[in-house]
Amino acid sequence: MRRLDPTLTLAGAAVIALVFVAVRHRPEGVTAARIEEALAPTFGNLVNLQRSRLGLPEIGSGVLQAAAQCQKAGATARASRGAGEWTCTLRWSSPGQRLALRDTYDLSVTPDGCFAATADGSEAHLGGPTIKARDGTSLTNLLYRFEGCFDTTGR
């Protein structure tokens, strides 16, 4: 039986691997929907983590109802896609508040799907970079600036 040339075998394997990568469903990368789907639950988790550190009770997701709407800086809503600077509006509810709260974040989004979100002029709701605990100690405000990642390769 004729033996396979190992070099050709390796080269063939490389081509197969490349084809595998190429034929995978190609998603559209960074999109508004993906950012929104990642930002809102991350914010919700951080709200409760912050409350926990402050000794406050947790807010259920049904009460919080965080939702985000994002748009890339300098682009229309329809053309918003790709890495760069984004602005997102977060709507959320807090116990005791009749109306939904509305806060704005500036996001720096990288092509690999990670973002750093910084609160934009919403200190009334969110506070500054640090907050005071009940005992007077200074804590990092988890909601002022936070980071997260989302999948740019999935459906």
Partner: protein, 614 residues
């Protein structure tokens, strides 16, 4: 019936572009024979030796050594065959003894019983006094002695020595010739290449003279002597014109006008005496008489002149021709271009041991590993002391809050340059250093195939890269835990990760960059092989990593981004999301695998096809 020849070369040819280095060369060598391979510089002697040792691939013809196929066709140099070409080269940062220990590993257990020990080989080569000195301090003559010792370790029955005395002092050359005579008396066949006729005449029983790649004489020393012209003397007298008329010898005015050339046939020993007496009787004073040329030297110069070269085919008929060879059952065949140079597990492991020993002997290796260990501790200590945080890096805001953020920030920094650098620092040098030191012939003239050597080097390159990255990871985790602590880690979806889970994810994150690190290793190997330069082998992958990092920061179309090797280095981010996503990891592993196999296929093909030292 056993093969009567220790070495049998038929119709061997080698071309370098338009230049024919060796053309249709035949040669036979019996056990116990010391055969001179004589010719001026550039005649093709060394190329012939290289082809016999398999360092250079022949374009046509066959080589049989000790009754088996030899040359590149054999894959590895058969047991019992040893030798060196040019001035043998070794690893300069090791001692002579350590070098011998290394190269003997390439013979493994294949060398026949009775192989002299390294100390004995050093003693036989006259190098015992310098055996433990670094080879970088050796003279060319000492390297030749070390080359001889390396050859003797193979317990040779066929020994090929390429101008072995050209760097030795007279006493060393004498000792070597005595050693070769002893070996020949023990049945070892020796092919002794030289451009020094006197040396060949003293040592060899037979010889082949080559010129411009052709055989212009082949036979016994006595046959050459029989063809030699008369001895020529340069005579100066008080009256050269009258001296021309004296009978008894062949006399002619010297071509340079300085006196007369007098020759007398050797069988008429008294003719020169009679001529000199005749001069005296004629009243012609002899002012000087000196032997101008040795007769063999005259013949050699004639044979290796342009005229002789053009007439070489006539001389060639006197020796074993292709037609005769065919009649005797050794029909020349087109040289094989698919030599048996594949890798075996045993051979690859032997070569890997050699490479590991070389790496372990280099200070650079330990410096890099120490930096991998110490760097993260320095970083963690600096983070603890500083008031600012590396907020631009993922998890940078958490380095003071959780020790598990430290290895992730280190990984974030390392992804852009340290991983490519660690991946290439050893692998980019493993192949090119053989070119730099000229040691390819040293390691390929042993019992391992090129495939073994390639696989062994590759194993070590991959293992070193993986070990360096693993050490950096382990040190980063340790530094974070010891300097900062084991607090829960804030994940990338706003949820806290318990220490045990954070630890597991950190381990997975570092493990996820290994495929890309190995792909950079393969890239370094390919560049090192292609350029034969360690600087390129080490530096270019780092530059490629930087360039890809810059490109990946652009908002490229998805497919273009997929073809880069740097996104796999940050594909671990998805592990820290809730729920975790693995798409980038799968894609990254696939693209890393593609780079890896493509680079290795190219490097392997180049190493196998390339002439060594040719």
């Amino acid at each position: 019936m056993p093969d009567p020849f220790a070495l049998e070369i038929v119709g061997l040819e080698k071309r370098y572009g338009d230049r024919i280095a060796v053309r249709g060369l035949d040669l036979r060598l019996r056990p116990g024979e010391v055969h001179g391979l004589l010719g001026p510089n550039g005649a093709g002697k060394t190329t012939l030796m290289r082809m016999v040792l398999g360092l250079v691939r022949a374009d046509a013809g066959t080589v049989r050594v000790l009754g088996r196929p030899g040359g590149a066709e054999a894959g590895a140099v058969p047991d019992g065959v040893a030798g060196f070409v040019d001035t043998p080269q070794f690893y300069p940062y090791l001692s002579g003894r350590a070098n011998l220990r290394l190269v003997s590993r390439l013979d493994g257990g294949l060398a026949p019983a009775g192989t002299p020990a390294i100390a004995e080989a050093l003693d036989q080569a006259g190098l015992t006094a310098h055996a433990d000195a670094k080879v970088r301090g050796y003279s060319a003559g000492m390297r030749q002695r070390l080359g001889l010792a390396a050859a003797l370790l193979r317990n040779p029955r066929l020994l090929l020595l390429d101008e072995p005395t050209h760097s030795l002092d007279p006493a060393g050359a004498r000792d070597l010739r005595a050693r070769v005579r002893t070996l020949a008396a023990e049945g070892v066949a020796v092919l002794w290449s030289s451009h020094d006729l006197a040396e060949v005449e003293e040592l060899c029983s037979s010889l082949t003279i080559v010129h411009e790649g052709r055989v212009v004489f082949a036979g016994a020393m006595a046959d050459l002597a029989a063809q030699a012209p008369d001895v020529v003397h340069r005579l100066r007298t008080s009256d050269d014109a009258r001296a021309l008329e004296i009978e008894g010898a062949t006399v002619a005015p010297a071509a340079d006008g300085d006196g007369l050339d007098v020759s007398a046939p050797p069988e008429l020993a008294g003719s020169l005496d009679a001529y000199m007496l005749g001069l005296g009787r004629a009243g012609i004073a002899v002012r000087s008489l000196e032997r101008r040329k040795r007769s063999l030297e005259t013949l050699f110069l004639e044979l290796t002149s342009g005229e002789a070269s053009r007439a070489a085919d006539v001389t060639h008929d006197a020796i074993v021709t292709k037609r005769e060879a065919a009649r005797e059952g050794t029909k020349p065949a087109k040289a094989a271009f698919a030599p048996a140079d594949g890798a075996s597990l045993r051979g690859a492991i032997a070569c890997a041991k050699l490479e590991t020993a070389k790496l372990a002997a280099q200070l650079r290796t330990w410096t890099i590993l120490f930096a991998c260990l110490a760097g993260p501790f320095a970083f963690a200590a600096a983070m603890r002391l500083q008031s600012s945080l590396p907020e631009d890096t993922l998890f940078g805001r958490s380095v003071k809050a959780s020790g598990f953020a430290v290895p992730l920030v280190v990984l974030g920094f390392a992804a852009s340059w340290a991983v490519p650098a660690l991946a290439s620092v050893a692998s980019g040098d493993l192949f090119a250093s053989e070119d730099r030191y000229g040691t390819w012939p040293t390691i390929l003239a042993r019992s391992r195939t090129r495939g073994d050597v390639f696989a062994g080097k590759l194993l070590v390159a991959m293992a070193f890269s993986a070990a360096a990255v693993t050490m950096l990871a382990a040190a980063s985790v340790l530094a974070g835990v010891l300097v900062i602590g084991t607090q829960p880690l804030l994940g990338l979806s706003g949820a806290e990760l318990a220490p045990a889970r954070a630890m597991a994810l950190v381990g997975a994150a570092w493990a996820s960059v290994l495929p890309a690190a190995l792909a950079f290793t393969a890239l370094a190997v390919a560049l090192s092989v292609a350029t034969r330069s360690s600087a390129a082998g080490i530096g270019l992958p780092v530059l490629v990593g930087f360039a890809m990092q810059l490109v990946s920061m652009l908002d490229l179309p998805g497919v273009a981004r997929q073809l880069l090797l740097t996104p796999p280095l940050v594909a671990w981010h998805g592990l820290f999301a809730e729920p975790a996503f693995h798409g980038p990891l799968i894609e990254g592993s696939a693209i890393s695998g593609a780079y890896l196999v493509a680079c290795l296929a190219a490097a392997s093909r180049t190493v196998r096809a390339r002439d060594a030292g040719g």
